[in-house]
Symmetry: C2
């Protein structure tokens, strides 16, 4: 594949940032990857595993000479990090991110990067509860969606380069407005995370009257339903706060659906309950297994 960028600086060499670095280098899409992050131990792992070519602990040193800067840090940290990088950034450098919330983050990045170069918001739908450079995999994005959210002022050439990068690491790229992205993700990702955290939170300390720990009886259903509650709290704190409005809407829809089921149970309406459950079951079966 053709070389797209000479030097890619990746801030946050974790599951997403590290996997992008690995995949882009292996595919020959970038000549060099510079890793940056807060944790020296994680940067050592990244360097040792060949995820990046070199590491820099100072954000300015990390972006010097880079023609692509990837922010793969919690969404709440993106704007301040771009601010610190800006003085040393190479003119024309493309700035992108991989965060699960786009509208507010992209607007904040555009304000900070306007004197430097283009900003292209991005979000690969390839999360997991795993984290750190040790979790990076070159095939993480194979067949996964990656959503780009260009704004009215994003240069089409920059969008095209980012599309080529993500397609080059195997992703299916789609463009949409940041606000549409945030509404969708609130429903298929942010809401389920909050629900999973609440399920564990409600159950974690519970004991029976005779002293048994309720969670000792969790079987595969509970474990699957709450797997994403093992995700890093810092990431999901930032996502929930950054997408609070859309998330509130999704929560209201969920609460209404749950209350409808509760009323059918409380009223002993077996036929109505079975119909509601079967409608949901049919929709879920149509989605199939893992992606």
């Amino acid at each position: 594949m053709p070389l797209l960028f000479e030097r890619m600086a990746v801030a946050g060499v974790g599951l997403i940032g590290g996997s992008l670095a690995l995949a882009a280098r292996r595919a020959g899409l970038v000549r060099e990857v510079v890793g940056h992050g807060r944790s020296a131990a994680n940067l050592d792992v990244a360097l040792g595993a060949g995820v990046v070519d070199r590491v820099e602990v100072d954000p300015g040193d990390a972006v010097a000479g880079a023609d692509l800067v990837v922010l793969a840090v919690p969404v709440g940290a993106c704007a301040a990090l771009a601010e610190r990088m800006r003085p040393r950034a190479r003119a024309g450098a493309v700035l992108t991110d991989v965060g699960s919330v786009k509208a507010g983050v992209v607007a904040a990045l555009e304000r900070r990067w306007q004197a430097v170069g283009p900003v292209v918001g991005g979000h690969p739908l390839a999360g997991s509860e795993a984290s750190g450079a040790g979790a990076a995999r070159a095939d993480l994005f194979t067949g996964r969606r990656c959503i780009l959210t260009p704004t009215a002022t994003t240069p089409p050439a920059a969008v095209a380069r980012m599309r080529a990068l993500w397609e080059g690491v195997g992703a299916r790229v789609e463009e949409m407005a940041a606000e549409v992205h945030d509404d969708i993700l609130a429903r298929v990702s942010h809401l389920p995370h909050l629900v999973a955290y609440a399920l564990v939170g409600a159950t974690a300390g519970a004991r029976t009257e005779d002293g048994r720990r309720v969670l000792d009886y969790a079987a595969s259903g509970f474990l699957d339903t709450t797997r994403i509650a093992a995700s890093r709290a810092e990431l999901w704190r930032d996502i929930a706060l950054a997408n609070a409005t859309a998330l509130a809407g999704a929560l209201a829809e969920f609460r209404a659906a749950l209350e409808r089921l509760e009323h059918l149970v409380a009223g002993g309406d077996g036929a109505g309950l079975e119909e509601a459950l079967e409608d949901a079951a049919a929709a879920r079966r149509a989605l199939g297994g893992r992606r």
Copy 2:
């Protein structure tokens, strides 16, 4: 292993009933298994796959001569089925079930079976969204918990035989009061199922303003969290109705935990939100992966 029962009649040759039949025959715990069910097609599958020795479409024919009768049907169908079986049941035959709700079901079975023999309520924690005789597996119960809920009047010898049967197919057997079982299962199983159905129900018909189908963007997090919403609606209708009181308590606890997270998000309380999410994440990580 020693022979425990001469003839086991299994009503409902699906995932649980079929797996118990397969495992008990292979382990030499029963000499013969008679399968019974509503679906002739499913009974054909069970017979063809060697899950049972023979099938009977009439419940009376199914239990004739059996010294163990296993009800592996939706919990709402158990009492009526026992009623239909009773006239043909062999004196002293042990009646058991595998349902996810125990108190009401066991009481109803004891009333109907008191002139025949002992009733031992049971519940192997080994469900799945799969169903039908084709899903039966001889190793389904290996290492899984099986809870027995004897009452004040259950003969200890009958409990011992059922313990030997479940241990013989690989389960870890534990006894507890039916009410304790129902409180626990409401929290680690029935609540997560209702939540998963509600998550899918709230999202299934949603489209964005520009016409995209929201569920098309569901990735592994949503799929794991809602996997159990593909379960048979009829089973979960019965479970929710039979355990309505404990389930209402579990729902109230869950709603309180979710509202606490919502308030932290709405109030922009990043520190409080991170702490609540991290507490849940730590509890979830301690549970590990699949069981």
